[in-house]
């Protein structure tokens, strides 16, 4: 059996509040696939994703990506590892005052030195790739627009291009559609699904909307109170299993209480 792409073992995160945000979570990704993580707000979805690239430091456990154990990396090694992990955020997290192209190129920061990045001396190949990505996400011709002049959907497209600019081996998506309207959400999900397929990489997506998760994900992980309580293809996500994940689960179509986007 080949080495798994991502292997998480007994991952624990304790913020010191008395309740574990992540309680011994383990799962493995062996093939390029889109894995949806569902669960109520506060179930630990966001913490789980952030423990992978150590935006949140895990308390214990192991995260193996491409043969390296991420929690034990030095800060220098961690920065190198982070280049391989693209991340897409709910609030897009673009630098508002910079242009679309400047934002996309920040995806290369981990690969170039400080002065190279300050003077924008990126290789011709990087620039060509950035243009290609803008075209792929449907923003051809937008390179010199400022990020704060874009709509929510357009901003998230820039966010996707920035993540892909890293040429990542793994993509993390933290509620990428929670700030978008339903129709834009579907478009963004289609785009994300498309690029993940094209690049044959695994991706983990936190998602509130169970319907979207069912439609787009190859596999679904359910979290409840920091524990992994479900891990199977979407077809096995029955009403009874949803009750396991969310407690009382009322309406499949509307998704669980559409409230605070974590």
């Amino acid at each position: 059996m080949t080495e798994p792409l991502l292997e998480i073992t007994s991952l624990v995160k304790d913020y010191g509040t008395g309740r574990r945000a992540l309680d011994s979570v383990s799962f493995t990704i062996r093939t390029p696939q889109l894995v949806g993580i569902i669960g109520s707000s506060g179930a630990g979805k966001s913490t789980l994703i952030r423990c992978i690239n150590r935006l949140v430091e895990p308390t214990s456990g192991s995260v193996r990506l491409m043969g390296a154990d991420i929690p034990s990396l030095s800060s220098r090694e961690l920065r190198k590892m982070r280049r391989q992990i693209g991340m897409i955020f709910q609030e897009y997290n673009l630098v508002e005052r910079l242009t679309v192209m400047q934002n996309v190129l920040t995806g290369r920061l981990g690969y170039v030195g400080f002065w190279t990045s300050v003077r924008y001396r990126y290789s011709e190949e990087d620039i060509r790739y950035a243009y290609a990505l803008l075209e792929r996400v449907g923003l051809a011709g937008f390179e010199n627009r400022r990020a704060d002049a874009l709509s929510g959907g357009q901003r998230q497209r820039v966010g996707i291009a920035r993540a892909l600019m890293q040429r990542p081996k793994l993509l993390l998506l933290d509620e990428p559609t929670a700030s978008l309207d339903p129709s834009t959400s579907r478009q963004i999900m289609q785009l994300a699904q498309g690029v993940i397929e094209e690049q044959h990489m695994p991706a983990l997506i936190n998602i509130h909307d169970v319907t979207l998760a069912r439609t787009f994900c190859d596999r679904i992980i359910g979290m409840r109170d920091g524990k992994l309580v479900f891990d199977a293809p979407p077809a096995e996500l029955t009403h009874a299993r949803l009750v396991d994940i969310y407690g009382a689960y009322e309406n499949d179509e509307a998704g669980p209480r559409q409230e605070e986007p974590a």
Binding site: K80, N93, V95, R97, L109
Partner: protein, 268 residues
């Protein structure tokens, strides 16, 4: 059976931060008593005030017409003040930027944050005039003491504003850039700087403007610039020359105010 009956006979007053309304009344009474008592003990006697006004009339009479004949002395003093203002603003800002970044709770580790904050608090404890007296004692009369004084003042002011600006920025882009594997300097340059730059340039210009004003006064304690000339003129009862200096300072400050206003409006 009416909705007026429901609240009838009840009274409601907005709560006060004092907890009770009696306490509030007592507080304001105490303030009033203290003010009256202070005026009494500070020998605020009307006779002295009156005599002062008479003397002021005399001084103003001797200040007119202003005497611009000693123009070299005047111009050199003004130029020195402008130099002090510009040099000390640049020096102060150069020191303020790294300290300001260190004093931002959301970027710096706690010990560094506390040390930088401490430095800023110490810097803001004493008024610049006191610092100027100290530097004049250390380095003697002249513009060196003035430059050091105003650099010091600019540093603590700009560092505090920068730190607060950084603490209020959106952490999202910082998180996003960290996630790409960007280094600390890259995060500062690409995620922090764009968010704080415009406001900080406004603060820098404001500080230049206020250093211009300050540089005209610190000379009074011997720290160089036009203030030193002014102080000398006053002590020699050269009131007509003093008034020429005062008018020049007023023009300079007005120009600085006008210029900084203009630039800050353009920045928005």
């Amino acid at each position: 059976m009416s909705d007026t009956a429901f609240g009838a006979g009840r009274r409601w007053r907005p709560p006060t931060i004092f907890g009770s309304h009696k306490l509030r009344a007592a507080f304001f009474l105490a303030v009033a008593v203290y003010l009256v008592w202070s005026l009494g003990t500070l020998q605020f006697d009307s006779q002295r005030v009156l005599r002062g006004f008479v003397r002021a009339g005399d001084i103003f009479a001797r200040m007119w017409p202003p005497d611009f004949s000693r123009s070299t002395l005047l111009i050199n003093g003004m130029l020195e003040s402008i130099q002090i203002a510009i040099v000390s603003t640049v020096l102060g800002v150069l020191i303020a930027v790294p300290i300001g970044v260190c004093a931002a709770r959301n970027l710096a580790p706690r010990p560094i944050y506390l040390a930088a904050r401490g430095l800023i608090v110490i810097g803001r404890t004493f008024h610049e005039l006191i610092i100027a007296i100290f530097f004049v004692k250390m380095f003697g009369f002249g513009p060196l003491a003035g430059v050091l004084t105003l650099s010091y003042g600019s540093f603590s002011f700009v560092a505090k504003m920068l730190a607060e600006d950084i603490e209020n920025m959106n952490m999202g882009p910082v998180e996003a850039l960290r996630a790409t594997g960007a280094g600390f300097r890259q995060v500062i340059w690409f995620a922090v700087l764009p968010q704080v730059l415009v406001r900080q340039i406004g603060i820098l210009i404001y500080r230049l403007d206020s250093n211009l004003r300050h540089s005209t006064i610190i000379g009074v304690v011997g720290a160089g610039g036009i203030g030193q000339t002014l102080s000398a003129a006053f002590s020699k009862y050269d009131f007509d020359f003093a008034s020429a200096i005062l008018i020049s300072i007023a023009v300079l400050v007005a120009m600085g105010e006008f210029g900084s206003d203009y630039i800050r409006r353009r920045l928005r």
